[in-house]
């Protein structure tokens, strides 16, 4: 289910149309483009909520927001790749898993 700018403003109390457009313009929120304008999915809306919290409740300065977002996005990307790798390791035969674990242990000890 995709939401228009207006729907997002109605759904998230703390965001105004002006603010939403500002954030989209800066690339902090990346909606898809529809024929009638930008369209937002549930992940975009959750991110809008998060940005409102960062700005209004945690008083993160506007200049600092891209730093926070960039680090956050990197952490999420790393978590995703880590999970995928962990699953890939899990799918290996028992002996291979043990060898990977030993190699990993010896690398992290040093």
């Amino acid at each position: 289910m995709k939401l228009s700018e207006k729907d997002v403003v109605l759904q998230v109390d703390a965001v105004t149309l002006r603010r939403l457009r500002l954030w989209v313009g800066k690339g902090w929120i990346a909606p898809v483009t529809g024929e009638g304008g930008p369209l937002f999915d549930a992940a975009d809306v959750a991110r809008v909520r998060l940005l409102c919290e960062l700005r209004d409740e945690l008083k993160i300065a506007e200049d600092a927001v891209p730093v926070v977002l960039s680090l956050m996005d990197q952490v999420f990307s790393l978590r995703r790749e880590m999970k995928a790798l962990a699953r890939a390791v899990d799918e290996q035969p028992h002996e291979v898993r043990i060898r990977i674990r030993e190699a990993h242990l010896s690398l992290t000890k040093g």
Binding site: A30, G34, R47, R49, M72, F76, S77, R80
Partner: protein
């Protein structure tokens, strides 16, 4: 939440409003679940601290709590949806960047294979352009039969789309090199167009089969008939056998969706016997005499149900 909100925030009972806010901000920055993904303890504490703050931040609520009129559990807030939920499950992947793994390629052959599509080279760094994401709603028949469309999106971008026959709701069309421009001679990104298919008034879809409910007259059902049936590719003639009934399914072979590289689907026509719209005196008279000699019980199977 039943713990003391002052204790949770680490402030005195007579703390000024401003100090409460300050204390909350400090804790929230440490504990916010989107900044501590995977840390369940931080999330639990964030919820408590956040509830405590929202109780004490409202002077009226705070006074009532101080007088012992309400307890802290009244401040429980509705379950909040954190961004993390999406970022971790893959719905937020377009915000992800693998650029921070680029140096992994040097450390590991495996990583260079996994993340090797970057065009980064020593010296001049070629950068591939960004993928741009679009969304388009199309008609059921455009999706079923395929269509060529030029679509103008806001901000002056227009795309020539070749919608293949049999496009499914939620499918994504990739237009190579129609996204953002690359840097330093890097290739352009792609345009990704997610397709939503509007439902049709008559047809429904099951994979590449088309489902249609076809009303037939009582005489057509009893005596058999040739009728015209709409399909996604136009009207076709179909024979209804004598004694056809509601719920009978007739298959029009190959009249479903004809997608490239797949076996053509069929159209499945479900019959629905319809009485005349207005009551008919002649039919009533006939059925009164018919019933006496030919009555039947279509509910015999339901008899032994409780």
């Amino acid at each position: 939440m039943s713990k003391d909100p002052y204790e949770l925030l680490g402030v005195a009972r007579d703390a000024a409003q401003g100090d409460i806010t300050k204390a909350y901000r400090k804790l929230a920055k440490e504990l916010h679940p989107d900044l501590n993904p995977g840390d369940a303890a931080a999330e639990e504490r964030f919820k408590e601290v956040s509830a405590a703050y929202h109780l004490l931040n409202d002077p009226e609520q705070r006074a009532r709590y101080d007088r012992g009129e309400i307890d802290a559990s009244g401040a429980d807030r509705p379950q909040q949806e954190f961004y993390r939920r999406y970022a971790d499950t893959g719905e937020g992947t377009r915000y992800h960047s693998t650029s921070s793994f680029e140096d992994f390629a040097d450390a590991s052959d495996l990583f260079s294979e996994l993340f090797g599509q970057q065009e980064a080279r020593r010296g001049t760094v070629k950068m591939r352009g960004r993928d741009q994401h679009y969304h388009l709603e199309i008609d059921f028949l455009e999706a079923a039969e395929g269509a060529k469309r030029r679509v103008a999106f806001p901000q002056g971008k227009s795309l020539d789309l070749n919608i293949p026959a049999g496009t499914r709701d939620g499918a994504t069309l990739r237009l190579k090199a129609k996204g953002g421009a690359g840097l330093n001679g890097g290739s352009a990104g792609d345009a990704l167009v997610e397709i939503s298919v509007r439902p049709h008034r008559l047809f429904r879809r099951d994979g590449d089969d088309i489902l249609l409910e076809l009303p037939v007259a009582i005489d057509e059902a009893v005596l058999g008939a040739r009728v015209e049936v709409p399909t996604v590719s136009g009207r076709v003639a179909m024979k209804i056998q004598k004694g056809a009934n509601t719920g009978d399914v007739l298959r029009l072979k190959g009249k479903g969706i004809n997608a490239e590289g797949r076996t053509p689907g069929d159209q499945l026509v479900t019959l629905k016997v319809m009485l005349p719209e207005a009551p008919d005196a002649e039919l009533e008279t006939f059925l009164k005499t018919w019933r006496d000699r030919h009555g039947y019980d279509p509910r015999s199977q339901l008899r032994d149900m409780p």
